[in-house]
């Protein structure tokens, strides 16, 4: 917020107090995340319908996924949520440089996730498991297995898109944190970015078992 109360830096013109500004920013982010849940929710609904209809095909499709890489990525993302939480704490306690370093670490972990995901996608491409006219699957119910992969790519693709947006956002916030833009009175944007990052992480926590662990007891 550029314009503001001259005597109170960082307080936007239409707020009366820092508390009001912070509450507003936080509620805004939570409301946005509710929207995001419904956005993914449509796909989860489709997943639920088709998995119920074609349980065997979904199991077969799931077994084509690399569970080791999936596990590795899950650990990476959880670790990135830790660095993110510590970064927010750094902003809250006026340690801008520390926060910036932790944010860069978060970006690195996010990038590692995407690179691993890229290898998984490449593997699917080589095996002709990417849905479309070139799709090929040895085994029964090939069409229904293709439906599994449609949902796999839609869900993980949408998640990856959120990761990319998140990494860019974290980069911007890291730059701002380094230059000391966040103070204990106003680190709202940093906290909002943190909430977003945790949300994207949490989506993966749901995606991993739903996609990788079907029928593996």
């Amino acid at each position: 917020m550029s314009e503001g109360h001259g005597e109170r830096p960082g307080l936007a013109h239409h707020f009366d107090s820092y508390e009001q500004q912070k509450d507003t920013a936080t509620l805004g982010m939570w409301t946005f995340l509710v929207t995001e849940i419904l956005f993914f929710g449509g796909l989860f609904a489709a997943y639920g319908v088709y998995r119920t209809s074609f349980p065997a095909a979904f199991r077969a499709g799931s077994h084509e996924l690399d569970i080791a890489l999936g596990c590795f990525n899950t650990v990476v993302l959880i670790a990135s949520s830790l660095t993110m939480a510590l970064a927010v704490r750094g902003g809250q306690t006026d340690k801008g440089k520390l926060a910036a370093a932790l944010l860069v670490l978060t970006m690195v972990l996010g990038t590692v996730f995407l690179v691993v995901k890229g290898f998984e996608y490449h593997h699917k491409f080589v095996e002709h498991h990417v849905p479309g006219p070139a799709f090929h699957f040895e085994g029964p119910e090939a069409n229904h297995v293709q439906m599994f992969f449609v949902l796999y790519f839609a869900l993980t693709g949408l998640h990856a898109l959120h990761m990319i947006i998140g990494i860019l956002l974290v980069g911007y916030v890291a730059k701002r944190a380094w230059s000391g833009a966040y103070t204990p009175r106003n680190y709202n944007f940093l906290e909002g970015t943190g909430l977003y990052w945790h949300f994207v992480d949490l989506v993966w926590i749901f995606l991993f078992p739903l996609l990788y662990l079907i029928g593996r007891h």
Binding site: E3, Q20, F32, T35, E36, L38, F39, G41, V49, G132
Partner: protein, 547 residues
């Protein structure tokens, strides 16, 4: 930051939000919710006119039974684009983005919405989406019906499904951001003393609307993405060849698109509550019931979508459940109508233009609502499904309800928005012409539909001609009624007499500030000490300063 403005001889301040800055940049980069509301007013009016033009062409074709004016595939494009433009680019943003944007901060005593930059962003998103749809219109348009049912929309048609889909997707985020902004504003930006139960019912209506925008719109967004994926990558989420289910598309589509109807009607109900209280000079009867009825409609609205699919292959048990749930919506809707009526009882009613629109709304909404209950019953719906009965029913809600509310609201707050009064005679005439024209247009369609005339055809059996000619004649009158406000509103900007701060003698914080309001809305931050609509007993509204 605020400098004390010098005042004009009549005591109103010299500087207000309209003359505080000049030039294109001061509008296109503004963060003032009042200016953004005006940007929206201009944009949605353009798309209302375009959608109206489509309707004119449709009614021209239907004057004669033969399909003699347009080829069938052109006619398909006409009714599709009529629906798309009217629903996504006029009715859904209409009242919230124009009146809600302008009034919510004023009504709750705030300086602006919670997120002014996001508010501006939402207008740009709307504009990009709308321009994409317009571009598609010039390049052949879409012919799937506004519902984009699969597999027609994914596997068969070659029209601009993708462009219009992307346009709706982008405009959808504009709608989400508006709703998000309103929710946070109403929670966090209320003036001291403005408790939840002192909020004007207009604000309650918009709160309920915003819940739907935030919860429903993302589902249509993801559904459009899936349609796009099917068309671009030739994969099939809804393709029966892959075991996909076209009915799943209908479920996802109506999960948003039914509540979307309440995005259109709830803000209009909020407007009508303000108008009825002001022009009956009484507090709204059963304020809390009317407030919670808005929330009730928003919540129930999410559990009734299956009534669009009674004959689409959904199970009979689902049909029964959706039928019962749909009828439940009648309860909060009826609470509103009864409470408005009870407010009128023994009120000192004055027949100003906004009140004429409000009374028109109540009558037309009642007809639209009652036919809605009829359609919620499985047997009747199976009979009249996809006929003009449906067309008439939802036009009574969307045009008779939402647009009457929108026009009533514009007439009510025009003096506040522009600082000018409009001519009384012409505006009252417009309200009557719109009411008459509307009924002549759409009442015959109830009969046509009940007799079996299907929707979406450019020709029909000759025995339906009389009623169709009536409908087209009514549409001409209705169109005239819509043109009149356009003319006298623009006229009033230059020649209309100056409006006082409170021309209707209404309660509400927006009337306590000057007309037009200053940039930060209030010279001194308001403190609220009383519930809304505290009109003294039996005092007629002031008859001063009217043209």
């Amino acid at each position: 930051m605020t400098t004390t403005p010098s005042t004009l001889p009549d005591g109103s301040p010299r500087t207000h939000y309209l003359n505080a800055a000049y030039g294109l940049k001061s509008w296109l980069l503004t963060r003032d919710h009042k200016r953004i509301a005006l940007l929206y007013l201009v944009s949605v009016s353009i798309f209302f006119a375009l959608g109206g033009l489509m309707a004119v062409l449709i009614r021209m074709e239907l004057v004669t039974p033969e399909g003699d004016l347009f080829q069938p595939d052109i006619y398909n494009r006409l009714f599709t684009m009529h629906g798309v433009l009217m629903i996504f680019f006029f009715l859904i943003p209409g009242i919230p983005a124009v009146l809600g944007n302008f009034l919510i901060p004023l009504m709750i005593g705030a300086k602006d919405l919670a997120f002014p930059r996001i508010n501006l962003l939402s207008w740009y998103l709307y504009s990009i989406g709308a321009l994409l749809a317009f571009w598609a219109l010039l390049h052949g348009g879409v012919d799937t019906g506004w519902t984009f049912y699969t597999p027609l929309s994914t596997n068969y048609v070659n029209t601009s499904v993708l462009t219009v889909g992307v346009g709706i997707f982008i405009a959808g985020f504009s709608s989400i951001l508006t709703g998000l902004n309103f929710i946070v504003t109403i929670h966090r930006m209320r003036a001291p003393g403005m408790t939840w139960f002192r909020l004007p019912l207009f604000v309650w209506g918009h709160y309920a609307t915003s819940l739907i925008q935030v919860l429903g719109t993302p589902v249509i967004a993801i559904t459009i993405l899936l349609i796009a994926a099917e068309r671009v990558f030739h994969v099939g989420v809804f393709d029966p060849k892959l075991g996909g289910d076209p009915v799943l598309f209908q479920h996802l589509f109506w999960f948003y698109s039914h509540p979307a109807v309440y995005i259109m009607i709830l803000p209009a109900m909020g407007v009508v509550s303000e108008l009825v209280a002001t022009f009956a000079r009484k507090p709204i009867f059963g304020y809390k019931f009317v407030a919670f009825a808005s929330i009730g409609i928003a919540v129930l609205g999410f559990f009734v979508w299956g009534h669009h699919m009674f004959v689409a292959g959904q199970s009979i048990y689902a049909g029964v459940v959706f039928s019962v749930l749909s009828m439940l919506v009648a309860i909060p809707s009826a609470i509103k109508v009864f409470n408005w009526t009870a407010t009128l009882y023994k009120g000192s009613i004055s027949w100003d233009t906004p009140m004429l629109y409000a009374l028109g709304f109540i009558g037309l909404f009642t007809i639209g609502g009652l036919t809605g209950v009829m359609l919620a019953t499985l047997g009747i719906d199976a009979h009249v499904h996809d006929t003009y009965f449906i067309i008439a029913h939802f036009h009574y809600i969307m045009v008779g309800g939402a647009i009457m509310g929108y026009l009533g609201g514009l007439h009510f707050w025009w003096p506040k928005i522009t600082g000018r009064m409009y001519p009384v005679f012409w505006s009252k005439l417009s309200a009557i012409v719109v009411f008459v024209g509307f009924n002549v247009t759409f009442f015959p369609q109830f009969i046509l539909g009940y007799l079996g005339m299907p929707r979406r055809y450019h020709s029909y059996p000759p025995e339906f001609q009389v009623l169709n000619v009536m409908s087209s004649a009514g549409a001409t009158v209705l169109g005239l009624g819509y043109l009149m406000p356009l003319v006298y509103f623009i006229w009033s900007l230059r020649y209309g007499p100056k409006a006082p701060a409170n021309p209707w003698g209404a309660t509400g914080l927006e009337w306590q500030t000057t007309s037009p309001p200053p940039v930060l809305n209030f010279e001194t931050p308001p403190i609220v000490t009383a519930p809304p609509y505290t009109y003294p007993e039996r005092t007629p509204s002031p008859k001063v300063n009217r043209v």
